[in-house]
Symmetry: C2
Subunit: 188 residues, 2 copies
């Protein structure tokens, strides 16, 4: 039944993710995953459709690792927590994380994170019809930043990058706030 298959699918994706973490993205092959699960490569095709869907599933798992902050925190704290969680996910899975930037943000797990950001932006006072735009800009930067850091694109150390994030946060939050203020004015 579906339950059993789902479990097997999870096992397969977990194996795939840890192979990529341990031996790199190039080592993530159908055959290696099958080996780790203790099965023939061809047996995987029933659970994941093929190599590219396997990668989709792995990315999905990555997004599920992102912790969503409690709603009672201030919106500034919420955004900071989500950024931090995404960044640490990138550090835990530097090989796979960049794939996040190359695949459509249309999956269920992507929606989960996006909706959380939407809610936070709303509570920051951003106008409803501005929310998707601000989210796209924010996620593009944060994911890009985390991927760059984890992938070694930057040539500076972690302290400098902490400062980058602080600089961005300071100015971006100001932008959000002014967008929120505009809304207050015209809204009531």
């Amino acid at each position: 039944m579906a339950r059993q298959r789902q479990t097997d699918r999870d096992t397969i994706l977990a194996a795939a993710l840890s192979i990529a973490d341990e031996r790199g993205l190039d080592a993530l092959t159908m055959r290696a995953v099958a080996d780790r699960v203790g099965v023939t490569p061809m047996a995987l095709y029933r659970y994941v459709g093929g190599k590219s869907q396997l990668l989709d599933g792995v990315v999905e798992r990555l997004l599920l690792e992102v912790t969503l902050p409690a709603g009672r925190l201030s919106w500034r704290e919420q955004l900071a927590k989500m950024t931090g969680s995404l960044r640490s996910t990138a550090r835990r899975h530097p090989e796979v994380f960049p794939l996040l930037m190359q695949r459509p943000a249309a999956t269920e797990a992507a929606k989960r994170v996006r909706d959380a950001v939407y809610a936070t932006l709303r509570s920051a006072g951003v106008a409803v019809d501005e929310v998707p735009r601000v989210e796209r800009i924010l996620s593009t930067f944060v994911i890009g930043f985390a991927a760059s850091e984890a992938g070694g694109r930057f040539t500076v150390g972690r302290r400098a990058l902490d400062g980058d994030l602080a600089w961005f946060g300071e100015h971006f939050l100001a932008a959000i706030e002014s967008a929120g203020a505009d809304q207050e004015e015209s809204g009531q």
Copy 2:
């Protein structure tokens, strides 16, 4: 002599780039490149070190396609032009462009673009020791944005994305300006 080899290397990289453009990144194989150049796969190894260095070279070529704006334009126009050029490069080479985000920004061609951004930021009044930081943030966003657009990560159309860039530009330039203003104050 070196001249001849350089030309051959360029021919190889050009062939590689157009294969990726036409048939996708997966179709970019040593064998396919060799075929197009009219040679055996093993002959490529003298000019490009191997597959991963071939990809490095292709990324290098990509960066050389980015047009750097004339210095007499205003810094706002310069940044807008560079962003536009990067975005159109991404559209011309959507398969290869995302690699830009995964490889170190330490090559000669990367330096060429970065130095241009440095100069523009300087002329915008950004403090010398803030320049690398602002450049990292800016390039992370712009490259990430262009890669997301070209790779189909966004689910909205081009008009909305034009608006995104305008929104980011408006607020980011304001941030740069305020950083510049801080500098003026304390500087003289």
